[in-house]
């Protein structure tokens, strides 16, 4: 385990408990967001990791070593630190700011110059900026420098305390993209404190929801949207977001109709026609004996070929468009709508036909996302809506 926190407790001298029995394990390469209202203990917890604060009890281990046994100054030089107010030194050039930690670690000037150039390219700013002072850069540019300053000495762990809280929404978004990209590309581990749920959902691989110094829930963004642990988490996420998030967490399997009209290729066209008539549909999906999707059959195909062909296999179409049952609605809805399909077969991982998505089901999703609570009474188990040609 890269970073583990066990039974952390922080009680201030007045008796106020800021952090209460905090337990968390963080793997290398994770992007962990601490989220909560102010006073939830999220910043306090983060600041204990680089010993800016000393816990009252409990242990924090970095790479298996108890950080209380390390020299705090040496420890902090190994951990990147980005704060809300950016904290660039106004009397130092951008170059000097970027190389503050390398300089503390006594790197050679040549190595520092080289690193400063690498770093400024990493955040897509011109190298001329290296000789400017922070006041000559915009807020967003300054925080870009703040971010790479925390990377310049090859720190593996980066702590970020509401780093984008003071930036406008557009700048914030571009910086979120930046840190996410850098984090995945460079394999850094990030602990990111925020009170903005959108930010946490966008960035995190693991979200830690805190309230009153206690952990409310630790989960992936999807998991938190799907199963908020309690009312507090639900409120923090917000009803709107829970509903809007539905397309991005609902899988095709959850909305598909399961009772599909299907037929095997060896059946006679007569039987197919009868089946269409009984089910009141104008097309059938074709599967082999094992239930694997093979193609589809239209009423027109039967009409044109009734005289010359006998079995379904002779006239069916093999080029069928399908989706996987575990893919997200968010990713499939556009494809389905764009291609103008009225319905699309759904297969599982073994290519077995398991259901069908109709345009009606997609309407429900869009409706829910826009107007809230879904209507649970719709007949999703019924396949009678399966109609029209499958193209």
């Amino acid at each position: 385990m890269f970073l583990s926190m066990e039974h952390l407790n922080k009680t201030y001298s007045g008796g106020k408990v800021a952090v209460d029995d905090f337990n968390l394990e963080i793997e290398k390469g994770e992007f962990v967001c601490f989220i909560g209202t102010s006073g939830s203990g999220k910043t306090t917890t983060m600041r204990m990791i680089n010993r800016m604060l000393q816990q009252t009890s409990g242990t924090i281990k970095l790479n298996g070593k108890d950080i209380s046994d390390m020299d705090p100054v040496q420890l902090r030089r190994k951990i990147g630190y980005v704060i809300q107010n950016i904290g660039l030194m106004p009397h130092m050039t951008i170059r000097q700011n970027i190389t503050i930690v390398p300089k503390l670690l006594k790197w050679s000037q040549a190595k520092m110059d080289q690193r400063a150039e690498e770093m400024i390219k990493l955040v897509e700013l011109p190298t001329e900026f290296l000789d400017r002072y922070p006041s000559e850069l915009s807020g967003g540019q300054q925080q870009r420098i703040g971010v790479v300053r925390a990377l310049a000495a090859d720190q593996d762990l980066i702590l970020m305390d509401e780093p984008y809280g003071a930036l406008d929404p557009i700048t914030r978004e571009s910086l979120q993209d930046l840190i996410k990209d850098l984090q995945t590309r460079l394999g850094k581990t990030v602990v990111f404190v925020t009170h903005d749920m959108d930010e946490a959902l966008t960035l995190a691989t693991k979200i830690v929801v805190m309230d009153g110094g206690k952990i409310m829930q630790v989960a992936t963004p999807d998991e938190i949207l799907r199963h908020p642990a309690n009312e507090f988490v639900e409120n923090l996420i917000g009803k709107d977001r829970l509903i809007q998030a539905r397309p991005s967490i609902t899988t095709v399997g959850q909305v598909m109709l399961k009772n599909v009209a299907s037929i095997t290729p060896d059946k006679l066209l007569r039987e197919a026609l009868k089946m269409m008539h009984d089910r009141r549909v104008d097309s059938l999906l074709v599967t082999d004996q094992g239930g694997n999707l093979k193609g589809y059959l239209d009423i027109e195909d039967i009409d044109y070929n009734f005289k010359t062909a006998t079995s379904v296999g002779d006239v069916m179409h093999n080029d069928v468009f399908y989706v996987k049952s575990d893919s997200l609605i968010r990713d499939t809805v556009e494809r389905i709508l764009k291609r103008g399909f009225k319905n699309v077969p759904v297969v599982d991982a073994q290519h077995k036909l398991v259901g069908i998505v109709t345009r009606a089901a997609l309407v429900d999703i869009v409706y829910d996302a826009l107007w809230g609570e879904p209507d649970k009474t719709d007949e999703r188990e019924d396949a009678t809506a399966q109609g029209g040609d499958a193209k």
């Binding site: 030089r77 030194m89 050039t93 000789d131 300053r149 702590l159």
Partner: protein, 209 residues
């Protein structure tokens, strides 16, 4: 005026030098003691108020009385004058150093510590440079006080331009009083101007133009 200069010119140069010498040593000692003390106080905030209060109290002792107090301890001459003026120079420097250091943006101090600077590195690389202009303002204020009050030092035999003034007072000679006062004023103005230049030079750059 030409007459005054032809008679007292050489003496004037000597007294000005003495005056400058007493003031410079007092101020120098004041800077050496008060700046580090002010820096230390920011790391011991509990005693900071006590120390600043004591320095303020010393400031309220009438200048002439303080000079007189020095005679039993240091006798007469330049030494007691330098000690007394040194005490006077402490407060403005001490207070400005303390306030200037405290006024440095807390998030910068937080960033410095969080990146792994030791206490000492944070002071030298971040806090003192940023508090520089405020500290210099305190030194300039002290310099003006010390030069003005050094005139009183002649009362305890320290010499300096005060000799002209006291002689003039004793002999009812306006030309001697003016001949002592005007150089004191000029000296104070020139030193303040020079320190102002130094302050600009020491103010850290924040733009590259």
């Amino acid at each position: 005026m030409m007459h005054f200069l032809s008679v007292y010119g050489l003496q004037l140069v000597g007294k000005t030098w003495q005056h400058l010498y007493i003031s410079a040593i007092s101020l120098g000692l004041g800077v050496i003691v008060a700046v580090p003390l002010g820096v230390l106080l920011t790391r011991a905030k509990k005693i900071a108020n006590v120390v600043v209060s004591i320095a303020s109290m010393l400031q309220t002792i009438p200048a002439l009385a303080l000079l007189a107090f020095m005679i039993p301890i240091f006798g007469i001459g330049a030494t007691p004058a330098i000690v007394a003026l040194f005490i006077y120079s402490l407060l403005p420097i001490l207070r400005n150093t303390y306030l200037g250091m405290n006024d440095v943006d807390p998030s910068l101090k937080d960033a410095a510590k969080g990146m792994g600077m030791t206490n000492w590195q944070s002071i030298i690389k971040v806090e003192v440079p940023l508090a520089g202009p405020v500290i210099m303002a305190g030194i300039r204020l002290s310099a003006t006080y010390v030069i003005a009050w050094a005139a009183l030092a002649s009362y305890i035999g320290a010499g300096g331009l005060g000799d002209f003034i006291f002689n003039g007072l004793n002999l009812y000679r306006t030309d001697l009083i003016l001949g002592g006062s005007i150089p004191v004023i000029l000296l104070a103005l020139i030193v303040d101007w020079l320190l102002g230049k130094l302050e600009v030079a020491l103010t850290p750059r924040t733009t590259h133009e």
